[in-house]
């Protein structure tokens, strides 16, 4: 539950300064700077929140949303993760890695002009990676008994 709260807070930060500012801030606003090392957040590839650019691009927004939902799903339905892990250990972690490989293929295919991805398709692919990433490592957040 604590992890779910933490990732919800992180997700709120990704929504950007549109949460509380009426006008677009400068490009070096702390919301943008905070995520700059892990996300390029190009305006063309980023959702708007209340008319203001979010702190991360659509793919990263999907990833952070997936992390949050992964944490909540595990907090609320722990039996499901337990069943998946017991039936085949590391399955979720390999699925997370698989989803990451899909991101790389998607970026490469788009760059090579093989297909054109959209804000929503990037967010969807990112969501899958975030969800399985968090779900696969959920035991790391268990409090010691």
């Amino acid at each position: 539950m604590l992890a779910a709260g933490f990732f919800t807070l992180l997700w709120i930060f990704t929504l950007g300064p549109g949460l509380y500012l009426p006008e677009p801030p400068r490009v070096n606003h702390w919301h943008y700077v905070a995520f700059s090392a892990v996300c390029h957040a190009l305006p063309e590839r980023t959702y708007l929140y209340d008319g203001i650019q979010m702190a991360v691009n659509s793919r990263c927004f999907g990833i952070f949303s997936g992390l949050m939902w992964g944490a909540w799903l595990h907090a609320l339905i722990p039996i499901f993760a337990g069943w998946l892990e017991n039936s085949r250990p590391k399955r979720l972690a390999w699925m997370a890695l698989g989803w990451f490989a899909i991101q790389v293929i998607d970026v490469a295919g788009n760059q090579l002009g093989l297909w054109t991805n959209t804000l929503d398709s990037r967010a969807f692919l990112g969501f899958g990676f975030g969800l399985f990433l968090l779900y696969s490592i959920q035991e790391a957040f268990r409090l010691p008994t």
Partner: protein, 187 residues
């Protein structure tokens, strides 16, 4: 294999972290600076998706997965047993090494080529002027922000704030690597 061979050898682990942190810190900084030069020397396109942005995509992947690769290397080369706590620590340490390397290297480069910052800012202005519907105030505001970002205070502020998220992301990817590659610590 004896128990002694599985004993944690933190010294070696740290050298792996240092090596991977330096490699990824240098790679990401060099890539960013190189893409900056490509932008400076190319015609303004009027699009945000310029050379620096393409470099940014690669840098994202590099910096986010440094912890993953470092844990994999430690588990393979140093000690196959790793707990989630130790994995998290690797993620924190590697993010800090990348941040420090990146700050140091970029500062050294600004001294070697003092014209880099001005050239980058000018090319950004030229690019923004080609974009339809961008008001002058937005260009002025961007220039002011970029000028601040190229000062030592600006670089340190940016590094300190962005390090927090970099640590979180590297901890997550390190934990994934622990899950995939490490033997469980039963103690």
């Amino acid at each position: 294999m004896t128990d002694q061979e599985f004993a944690p050898s933190t010294g070696s682990s740290f050298s792996v972290i240092l090596l991977y942190g330096l490699i990824f810190g240098i790679l990401s900084t060099v890539l960013q600076i190189a893409m900056g030069y490509v932008q400076i020397n190319s015609e303004p396109s009027g699009s945000f998706f310029g050379p620096t942005a393409i470099g940014g995509v690669v840098v994202c992947f590099l910096t986010a997965f440094a912890g993953f690769l470092a844990v994999r290397a430690i588990v393979k080369e140093v000690n196959p047993v790793m707990s989630f706590g130790q994995g998290s620590l690797v993620g924190v340490q590697i993010a800090l090494v990348i941040t420090v390397t990146s700050v140091a290297l970029s500062q050294v480069w600004y001294l070697i080529d003092p014209g880099y910052a001005d050239g980058f800012i000018e090319s950004t202005i030229a690019n923004m002027e080609k974009m339809p519907g961008v008001p002058d105030e937005a260009i002025d505001s961007t220039v002011e922000s970029l000028q601040k970002q190229f000062t030592l205070t600006g670089v340190l502020q940016t590094a300190a704030i962005s390090a927090v998220v970099l640590i979180i992301v590297n901890v997550l990817t390190s934990l994934l690597a622990v899950k995939l590659f490490a033997q469980k610590d039963e103690f």
